[in-house]
């Protein structure tokens, strides 16, 4: 219930609109309730052979109908506006919160689950707040008004004919309660089916290569059958409740015919009143059902709300302190003091007491086996993660004490498998520097050896790439990511540049060209390269060897060759030659 009241808090900014829609709905309702009443009176007039009275009531029905038209048009407009405004607010609040939460939160969440909160759960909340509440109020008021009118006409008959109402509401509620989980399970299975489909289309070449069409088809048939079975469960529930919900009101109608009819015969009830009774009950059928469904929807919305609040209530862990200063000016001097990091839910530290000082302008190669902590170490600099022990300072300021957005603008990381957004090449390169001109973008692209292939794209720098655009090869994406990093924070680029094996997917000659260019841009800025290849290591003044989250060796290439067995192994095992081609068997396209 607490969740429910919290949810209604989203309506607060639109209090006036909400009140107006209730008032307007009430007005429309009065029209709706008046019409059967007036119809009954008109029928009485017919039986009493009163021409004028008949015409008068007919006129009154016209007026009521016109009033109802005005009220419902306005109600729909006002309520629609409120509902859509609430939807916008809900979505923006949730999105804003997601943008504040730290990376660690996302590591532990499945993207699909977050998506379902932001779509399915949000939808059910906004439907309930936007329409459900009004429908509930409208249904209750309709039932009450009609009940009052019926009791005034004939109390005993009213009692008998209204008897099915609570049952209809209850059953409709049960229906909403039971059918929803069944339908959600069906949706879940359809989602699995979708994943199967995607995989079989993407992997069609592998399936064909191993001649496994028949087996894949059988597996798919199994998935389809699972969907069918679940859909049938949902259908059965629907088939059970639907007839009940529509059957019960008929009992009320039968009661009116029987008892009302007898009373008319006995002269205790006018035919007009009888007709009105009948019309009222007809009119009540849909509000009864709506009330039940909407109560069910309310319950679901509350459950969805609880899941949304779970995300909203989470305190972002990595935020700037209240009086944060920008990062002080400096050459990009980095110091790690006894830096350690253990991820939430894990007992083994990924970094364990790292002491490391990197002078401003220096180029350092981080070397080590998979899982030795290289990528995590560089993630500490822009505070993608916070150390669990020790500290990280840049130009004398603890990274936790400065404005985090300012900090991140000074540090650019190029991942080994870079992510590009569904946007133009220009927008991707200028991602971290919104004011970039085409010249800035071209300059960065040239430095990253990306301009030549970009010019050859169908629309040059205006070509859309990413998930919903042109698919680029790994090497092309890496070069765009390097260009993006070179523009981070402004035309002069970031203070600290991190290249996480950034040239792994480019061919040898391009790699050589990028390196020549990089040497130029690296001059004067602190650069950390995470390197697997000797040729990359050769870019650095100094090499830091990591092993199991600790610094195992530190020094120049020659020093390390002499002192470290591990480093010797790395150098010995090689410098494989590469002749990169973009032409592949197309298996993974």
């Amino acid at each position: 219930m607490a969740t429910f009241w919290r949810l209604t808090g989203f309506l607060k900014p639109y209090r006036r609109g909400v009140i107006w829609s209730f008032v307007l709905a009430g007005g429309a309702l009065i029209g709706t309730v008046l019409i059967p009443f007036l119809t009954g009176q008109a029928i009485n007039a017919i039986r009493g052979h009163h021409h004028r009275t008949l015409l008068m009531f007919a006129g009154a029905i016209l007026v009521a109908g016109a009033a109802r038209l005005v009220f419902s048009v306005l109600r729909r407009l006002v309520a629609g506006r409120v509902s859509l405004a609430v939807e916008v607010d809900l979505r923006e609040t949730l999105y804003g919160q997601l943008q504040q939460l730290e990376l660690g939160f996302f590591d532990r969440q499945q993207t699909g689950q977050l998506m379902s909160r932001a779509t399915v759960d949000l939808q059910s909340v906004r439907f309930f707040l936007g329409y459900g509440l009004i429908f509930i109020a409208q249904s209750i008021v309709t039932i009450l008004l009609a009940a009052i009118a019926m009791f005034i006409l004939q109390p005993s008959l009213a009692a008998i004919s209204l008897a099915p109402v609570p049952f209809v509401v209850l059953i409709a509620y049960r229906y909403g309660h039971r059918s929803r989980p069944a339908m959600q399970e069906a949706q879940q299975r359809i989602a699995e089916l979708t994943a199967d489909t995607e995989e079989n289309v993407s992997g069609v070449r592998v399936v064909k290569a191993f001649a496994q069409e028949r087996r894949q088809r059988e597996r798919f048939r199994h998935s389809v059958q699972r969907v069918f079975d679940q859909q049938l469960v949902a259908t059965r529930i629907q088939a059970f409740y639907n007839p009940l919900i529509s059957f019960l009101p008929n009992l009320g109608l039968a009661a009116i015919l029987l008892f009302g009819g007898r009373e008319v015969i006995d002269g205790h009830l006018s035919v007009g009143a009888f007709a009105a009774f009948y019309a009222y009950l007809l009119m009540l059928i849909s509000p009864m059902q709506t009330l039940g469904y909407m109560l069910g929807a309310g319950q679901r919305a509350t459950a969805s709300g609880a899941r949304i609040f779970e995300v909203l209530d989470r305190e972002p862990r990595i935020v700037s302190p209240p009086d944060a200063a920008p990062l002080p000016d400096g050459p990009g001097h980095i110091e790690l003091h006894d830096a350690g990091l253990t991820f939430e839910g894990s007992s083994r530290p990924v970094l364990d007491g790292v002491d490391l000082e990197i002078e401003g302008g220096q180029t350092v190669a981080l070397v080590g086996a998979m899982g030795s902590g290289k990528s995590v170490l560089v993630s500490l600099l822009p505070r993608l993660y916070d150390v669990t022990t020790g500290s990280v300072t840049i130009d004398g300021a603890d990274v936790r004490s400065v404005d985090v957005n300012e900090l991140r603008r000074q540090i650019a990381i190029v991942d080994d498998n870079p992510f590009l957004f569904s946007a133009t090449v220009h927008d991707n390169i200028s991602y971290a520097y919104a004011g970039a001109t085409r010249e800035d973008v071209q300059r960065a692209a040239r430095a990253a050896q990306a301009d030549a292939f970009i010019e050859r794209l169908p629309d040059g720098y205006d070509t859309r790439v990413g998930e919903r655009g042109l698919t680029l090869s790994g090497g092309q994406r890496q070069r765009i990511a390097i260009a993006r990093a070179l523009l981070a924070g402004g035309p002069s680029g970031p203070r600290i540049l991190v290249l996480d094996d950034a040239t792994s997917s480019v061919d040898a000659s391009t790699e050589r060209e990028i390196k020549t260019a990089l040497e130029r841009v690296m001059a004067g800025r602190t650069t950390i390269v995470i390197a697997h290849r000797l040729s990359t290591i050769a870019l650095a003044d100094r090499i830091v060897l990591l092993e199991h989250g600790r610094v195992a060796a530190d020094g120049s290439h020659e020093q390390l060759l002499e002192s470290s067995e591990l480093y010797r192994e790395i150098v010995r095992s090689g410098t494989p030659a590469h002749l990169r081609t973009d032409e592949t068997l197309e298996v993974s396209s």
Partner: protein, 597 residues
């Protein structure tokens, strides 16, 4: 809102061409014709029973109340109850049957599409964007699902109900019925206007919400980049903009609904008044009975409700039909490579591969450039050949022809003397292993992935294969070993690990002929050494065609083919080719220089 005539015509036509779709649907429903028949019977019964109350109420007034005949009243109430029970029973059967038949048809359609997609050739997948193909199977089938779930029963029932009401009204009192029908032209005009105006409005709302969902998904996938560059605010702004667009699009539908539905309500009040006045005066003058007037007004609900429901369903119906169009379009796509009528199963092969005067170009255009030209080559069983050359030289086209992903434009590809066009695809590929450059793995366990090409493989065979290619070590380090889930629903493997698993997968299938596209991605040194070793184990004793990127692989190959512009320009062993100081020598010097860098 200004809409020109051509635009209106276009929107109207969007619902046209029903014949073809109906034929397609009839085909899918044919196996279930008895259930479909039962479904229609239930629908008619339910509609009939739903229509009963109004005339029964009329009878109750006319025969029972007006004649003070209690017995007649009892009889009518009894009939009323019976009709209610029939209604409930028929509704149960109808709901169940519509659900069953609809879902069954969808299931069959999905299977049909899936089987059809499998039968299409690789060429089709190269020409079409995967996302578009997938959306036929997902979005379009779901649009139909929506139609089945929300609308099929309502669609049929509302139509039946409408016809039924019209008949009942006409039987009860032709004169009053005709008066009621005066509303029809207005209703139809209104419905038509609503339909034209709303068709695009609803489509836009669907597009806008899809854009929001897509943007959200992208932000979540790229959250690391957003954080790295501290770009939260621009994303929040852009999201707000999408949100506003979505709201505006929805507001348009609110306006349309606010204009249309209350108008229909007003129309129903107008008709009530009309019947009351005209029917009432007739009744006063003794030309009609009060019961008829009353029954008419009671039946008006049944007249307007189906009309309302039909207009509400219109958009679902429209998108379902559009989806069906696209689905049938895909089903009409003919596979290019099919087993020829007299194709035989390839017997156990030794693995001799022959290209006999093969030329090949992509597509049917005779002016397009040759991808392969005059290839004449025999690879003896058991030999490893390395294909080298620059991008676009024809290396991977060569490999694709060997696997019969395409048929040669001229000449023939033979395995052990059998022309590939004369053997069944399954018998060929079950003896052939193909290792792609970036190992595509399916979601499932490590074990399932290794056993992909040989589902009957024992645990021991799987472990042996993993050990042989050097994958056993990292698999053992995984939390659940061979039962670890990988792919989207499990853990992500590195490029090197994927490559090793792809090797193991090929090894378990134990092919006679291996086609391998070497990975170029950089992996750490230890994995690099493992891959090299695994590769050597994999090719041992088999015919292997390797698109080679690693010097070590090239050196170990029995024969090296240097390709240029679709032709083989040089071939021989590493030493022979170096001695010749030709194209290979040039390439090699280039690599050697880089390796030393």
């Amino acid at each position: 809102m200004r809409v020109d005539i051509a635009e209106i015509r276009r929107r109207l036509q969007a619902t046209g061409d029903r014949g073809r779709k109906l034929r397609g649907l009839a085909e899918i429903l044919a196996p279930y014709r008895w259930r479909v028949l039962a479904m229609f019977v239930a629908l008619v019964a339910a509609t009939g029973a739903a229509l009963a109350p109004a005339p029964l109420a009329k009878e109750a007034i006319n025969r029972g109340i007006d004649h003070h005949d209690t017995t007649a009243l009892y009889v009518i109430v009894a009939i009323f109850l019976v009709s209610a029970i029939v209604y409930a029973a028929a509704t149960y059967s109808q709901t169940y049957l519509v659900g069953w038949v609809g879902q069954r048809a969808l299931q069959d359609l999905r299977m049909k599409l899936f089987a059809h997609l499998q039968s299409l050739s690789i060429g089709f997948y190269s020409r079409n964007i995967a996302g578009v193909v997938i959306s036929r199977m997902t979005n379009d089938v779901e649009a139909l699902d929506q139609l089945v779930e929300d609308g099929l029963a309502t669609l049929i029932q509302s139509s039946l109900m409408l016809i039924g009401v019209i008949v009942i009204l006409m039987v009860m009192d032709l004169h009053l019925a005709l008066l009621t029908f005066i509303a029809l032209p207005f209703l139809f005009a209104g419905a038509l206007a609503f339909r034209i105006a709303s068709a695009d409005a609803y489509r836009v709302t669907r597009e806008k919400i899809a854009a929001i969902t897509g943007y959200l998904g992208e932000t979540l996938s790229g959250i690391r980049v957003v954080r790295q560059f501290g770009q939260e605010q621009p994303h929040i702004d852009r999201f707000a903009q999408l949100n506003d667009e979505n709201r505006d699009a929805n507001m348009k539908t609110v306006h349309l609904n606010a204009a249309y539905f209350p108008a229909v309500e007003l129309l129903s009040a107008l008709v009530t008044v009309e019947i009351l006045v005209v029917g009432g005066i007739a009744a006063i003058d003794g030309h009609a009975s009060t019961g008829v007037v009353f029954a008419f007004i009671a039946a008006l609900n049944n007249f307007f409700d189906p009309l309302q429901q039909l207009s509400q369903l219109y958009t679902t119906y429209q998108s379902g039909m559009a989806a069906l169009d696209k689905i049938f379009g895909l089903l009409d796509e003919e596979p290019e490579i099919v087993d020829s009528p007299g194709a035989v199963a390839l017997p156990q092969i030794a693995g001799r591969v022959e290209f006999r005067d093969v030329s090949f170009r992509y597509g049917a255009d005779p002016d397009s450039a040759w991808a392969l030209r005059d290839i004449d080559l025999v690879v003896p069983a058991g030999q490893t050949i390395a294909l080298v050359g620059e991008t676009g030289a024809g290396k991977s086209t060569f490999a694709k022809l060997a696997a019969r992903f395409y048929d040669p434009t001229e000449g023939a590809v033979l395995v052990d003397g059998h022309d590939l066009r004369d053997v069944t695809g399954e018998s060929l590929r079950s003896q052939m292993g193909i290792v792609p450059q970036e190992g595509f793995l399916f979601s499932g366990t490590v074990r399932e992935n290794i056993a992909f090409g040989a589902p009957e493989a024992t645990d021991e065979q799987i472990r042996d294969a993993a050990r042989a290619v050097g994958a056993a070590e990292f698999i053992a380090a995984l939390e659940q070993g061979y039962d670890t889930q990988i792919g989207e629903r499990g853990i992500q493997l590195s490029a090197g690990q994927r490559q090793l698993l792809a090797f193991a997968r090929a090894l378990v299938a134990d092919p006679r002929i291996l086609v391998l596209d070497e990975a170029t991605a950089n992996v750490d040194v230890r994995t690099e050494a493992l891959i090299e070793q695994g590769l050597r184990r994999l090719v041992a004793g088999r015919t292997a065609i390797v698109i080679a990127h690693r010097l070590s692989t090239i050196r170990h190959a029995g024969r090296i083919l240097v390709m240029e512009h679709g032709r083989i320009v040089e071939q021989g062993t590493h030493e022979e080719l170096l001695e010749a100081e030709g194209r290979y020598w040039e390439l090699y010097s280039d690599w050697a220089e880089q390796a030393a860098a």
